[in-house]
């Protein structure tokens, strides 16, 4: 086991990582951040999407050792007491059904909006194309991201 230091939702975390410790297990089991979901453990479903230095990754495919000195944002870190406009848009657009894909979708969409505040529909679909949702048919999720983009632009930086 090797010492690793990283930022999780802005807080400094020191821990020990083995050569097989995955980020998803560390978040869920060690830190109790169960907002990051597990659906397949092979990078197919996107439920465990988190931002690593601002870019979306599947936490099931990232070794904890790879996160040394880096910053991880999970769904729990998106809102600081009041909902983020993206989260509000998900609720308003009806983009939430069973809710199990929702955290991963929110993180993938947040990663997109950070890179490109004005994405077109195709870019949104592309950015979410690694995230599986069985309930919604994706339509309302795409609309939620469009709505959030409009509002974030209106509200300014």
């Amino acid at each position: 086991m090797t010492a690793v230091e990283l930022l999780v939702n802005g807080e400094n975390v020191r821990c020990k990582a083995g050569p097989t410790t995955r980020l998803i297990d560390f978040l869920r089991d060690e830190l109790g951040l169960t907002g990051t979901k597990e659906g397949c453990r092979e990078g197919e479903c996107g439920s465990c999407t988190v931002l690593l230095d601002g870019l979306p990754v599947n936490a099931c495919l990232v070794l904890l050792g790879k996160c040394d000195g880096r910053s991880v944002l999970t769904v729990e870190g998106v809102s600081d007491g009041t909902l983020h406009p993206l989260q509000e848009a998900f609720i308003e657009a009806g983009a939430v059904q069973c809710g199990y894909c929702t955290p991963g979708m929110v993180m993938a969409a947040l990663g997109l909006l950070m890179r490109d505040p004005r994405p077109g529909e195709e870019q949104i679909r592309m950015a979410l194309s690694g995230n599986f949702c069985r309930c919604t048919g994706y339509e309302s999720i795409v609309k939620a991201v469009q709505l959030a983009s409009e509002r974030l632009i209106q509200d300014g930086p």
Partner: protein, 725 residues
């Protein structure tokens, strides 16, 4: 009706909602399962010595450690909880382990030595149904065999000017919920064995746990909601019993979650069906008879296979007047993966067959496919497909008429004409109906409890789990309407046998219907109770406010018993049904005739589901259902070879993602039905039904090949195109 707020959404977008598989407790053990090593084998011996000796292992259980009945299964308890002398499919469990870590638990499973004698693998349901087949179960593999008739099929055949015949094969679709099966079991402070495991049937599965553990049901509590998707696959028991057994054996909290591979291995799939269908019509396009044979592969155990077969038989006519009907149904045991409830419950398979034939009849007669459907559509006052009386609204005609005006349909010729070179473009249509609730002969009673809380608020307890369909939202809207209060003043609890009354499973598209009916009944009792106490006002809300503290704690019980047909068939339980929802759908399809790839850019759906309780909920169900049925049409199939899946991974299973789905427009005929709460029926399953056939009909329109074996994967389309020349 109120606009409605999705009360469960905030916890889900922030990640704070705790799903059963998210839970953990101090001192918790991790469980693992030793699955069958063969799809069919006799167990010669099981040796757990090495596993028990492993440091950190706290329990190793085999069949000898099951105190009660070592069987599960909702209808017939035919599946061992832990196999004794034989394994019948790769998802059978031979032993289970609880240990201090996940790694120790799975290592211990590998250390269990199981000696087998392999048996012949029975994987072809039609061969399995023959008397000479090797038997998966005694006395025969043919577990259900029924013949239902209406009218005189021979006379119908004589009247027919055209008869179309076809054999249709449907895939082993998986429900595909994102949260796999599992959860945590523990003893609460009162010594009640609590199993927190996502499920659609808390009370029914509590009974199965009690039966296996040999303890009274009131010593067991199942917390089943929220769950990360169900779609039928969490209707029958999943891991509740093994969780409870391991907790009972160790006295400690135990966590058990199926990996995706385990879910593919052991979880419920949609019944693959082979449907032989002849449908006849007169020259004028009037349907005159249907002659059908359905063979359903239920896998190693029955689960809900009997009712699923019956629903396929009842819905094989489509939502049309068919005077003469003969339908034979066979449900067969094999060593294939376990089949059971999956969104649509047999209706999807039947719809694919009949709606394919409607298009073929239209082509033979030179009729417009929607006109043919309109001509034969069920109308109010018509008898149902099995000759039963139909209650409530019958909106098939309105759906078709509305669909006829949709852009996807009116611009179909323009879309056809836009075909270029290797790309063929077509439009496909299909109609569907789906029963709401249980059929004749099955106990069905919706239940709800309403309790008055301080501050003019109401607690509402309904059994029906929220698996994403939004039952809590629907209940809060209906309770607010029935009580005369704001939606925010209603606190809804679902999916907890410790708090909610037993109203049967969350299945059969009946959650809104039964739960809502029971809420209205409870509210009317509560209103009388409040008046008796001297509360003045027009609604429970006003009366409770008038009484203040005196009303707090007052509790009313409500129930709802939906209508059933008066008569059915001797010895057949669960059909016919009395209430149906209706839908018509059109899709644009594009086929690349070089690669066989199919794209579905646009879809238009019109539904008639009675009064709409939540528009957002309805649209979400139809958009999501469309994609569910699209997956069945184009890609989803757990392919097996001699009972063994060729892939245990999501990467080997083609589900639609955001780039693969159509833009769906949803319309509804907002007409109150004269049955159901506020005139509402149900939509959850129906939404997945017609699109599969619509896509297949669109493929035929686009490139002239008719797909009769699903899914319509590129290689299949290419083969058909090659055969056509």
């Amino acid at each position: 009706m109120h606009v409605g707020v999705r009360i469960d959404a905030e916890g889900k977008v922030t990640g704070h909602t705790v799903f059963p598989t998210d839970r953990s407790m101090p001192g918790m053990l991790y469980a693992a399962i030793r699955w069958a090593d063969y799809p069919h084998a006799r167990i010669v011996s099981i040796d757990t010595t090495a596993a028990r000796a492993l440091e950190g292992v706290e329990a190793v259980l085999t069949h000898a450690d099951v105190p009660g009945l070592n069987r599960c299964g909702r209808v017939i308890p035919d599946q061992p909880v832990l196999c004794e002398d034989r394994v019948r499919f790769v998802g059978d469990a031979v032993a289970c382990v609880a240990a201090r870590t996940r790694e120790i638990a799975s290592l211990a499973c590998r250390l269990i030595r199981v000696e087998y004698e392999e048996l012949p693998v029975v994987d072809d349901p039609e061969a399995a149904a023959c008397p000479g087949s090797f038997r998966v179960h005694e006395p025969e593999n043919l577990v259900v065999h029924r013949l239902l008739t209406k009218g005189d099929v021979a006379a119908g055949r004589r009247r027919a000017d055209v008869v179309v015949s076809g054999v249709y094969r449907t895939p082993r679709q998986m429900p595909g919920f994102l949260e796999t099966e599992g959860g945590i079991a523990y003893y609460d402070t009162d010594g009640v064995l609590t199993v927190c495991c996502g499920s659609q049937a808390g009370h029914a599965n509590r009974f199965q746990v009690a039966r296996a553990l040999g303890i009274p049901e009131d010593r067991i509590r199942l917390i089943t909601s929220p769950l990360g998707g169900g779609f039928g696959g969490k209707d029958d028991v999943t891991e509740e019993i093994r969780l409870a057994l391991l907790c009972q054996a160790t006295g400690k909290p135990v966590k058990l979650v199926r990996s995706r591979a385990e879910s593919i291995r052991a979880g419920i799939k949609r019944h693959p069906m082979t449907i032989y269908m002849d449908t006849g019509a007169t020259r004028q396009g009037e349907l005159v008879f249907q002659d059908v044979r359905i063979v359903a592969d239920t896998g190693a155990y029955l689960s809900l296979g009997r009712s699923i077969l019956y629903l396929a038989m009842e819905h094989c006519t489509g939502p049309y007047r068919v005077p003469h009907l003969k339908v034979e149904g066979l449900c067969v045991y094999t060593n294939n993966l376990l089949s059971g409830a999956c969104r649509g419950f047999g209706v999807n398979q039947a719809c694919f067959a009949v709606e394919s034939q409607m298009d073929e009849i239209a082509e033979r007669l030179g009729m417009d496919p929607l006109e043919l459907r309109l001509k034969n559509a069920l109308r109010p006052g018509d008898e149902g497909p099995l000759g039963q009386s139909v209650a409530g609204s019958v909106g098939m005609v309105a759906c078709i008429e509305r669909l006829r005006e949709s852009p996807v349909y009116t611009k179909r010729h323009t879309w056809n004409a836009a075909s270029t070179g290797r790309v063929g473009r077509g439009v496909g249509v299909a109609c569907a109906f789906k029963c709401v609730g249980f059929g004749l002969g099955l106990h069905e009673l919706g239940r709800a409890i309403i309790r008055i809380l301080p501050g003019g608020r109401f607690a509402v307890y309904v059994p029906y789990e929220d698996m994403g369909q939004g039952s809590q939202m629907a209940y809060s809207i209906m309770a607010a309407e029935a009580l005369g209060c704001a939606q925010q003043d209603v606190e809804v609890t679902v999916g907890d046998t410790g708090l909610c009354p037993d109203g049967g499973p969350t299945s059969a598209s009946r959650g809104t219907y039964l739960g809502g009916g029971a809420i209205i009944d409870a509210a009317s009792s509560l209103s009388r109770m409040l008046s008796d106490l001297g509360g003045a006002g027009r609604s429970c809300g006003e009366k409770a406010r008038a009484l203040g503290e005196r009303a707090v704690g007052l509790t009313a019980y409500g129930s709802y018993s939906p209508p059933k047909p008066e008569r059915g068939f001797d010895g057949v339980v669960g059909i016919p049904h009395s209430v149906f929802s209706f839908m018509a759908q059109a899709v644009q399809v594009e086929v690349d005739t070089l690669t066989g790839a199919v794209r579905v850019p646009l879809s238009h759906a019109v539904v008639e589901v009675g009064r709409v309780i939540s528009k957002q909920g309805l649209v979400g169900q139809v958009e999501g259902g469309t994609v569910f049925g699209l997956g069945m049409a184009l890609g989803e199939d757990v392919v097996t070879d001699k009972g063994v899946p060729k892939s245990y991974s999501l990467s080997g299973y083609t589900v639609p993602y955001s780039m693969d789905v159509p833009r769906t427009t949803v319309e509804w005929i907002d007409e109150a039905s004269d049955v159901g709460p506020f005139g509402a029926k149900g939509v959850g399953e129906l939404a997945s039904v017609p699109v599969t056939a619509a896509v297949v009909n669109g493929i035929a329109d686009a490139c002239g090949v008719r797909v009769r074996t699903l899914p319509a994967r590129p290689e299949r389309i290419c083969k058909l195109l090659l055969d056509k020349g």
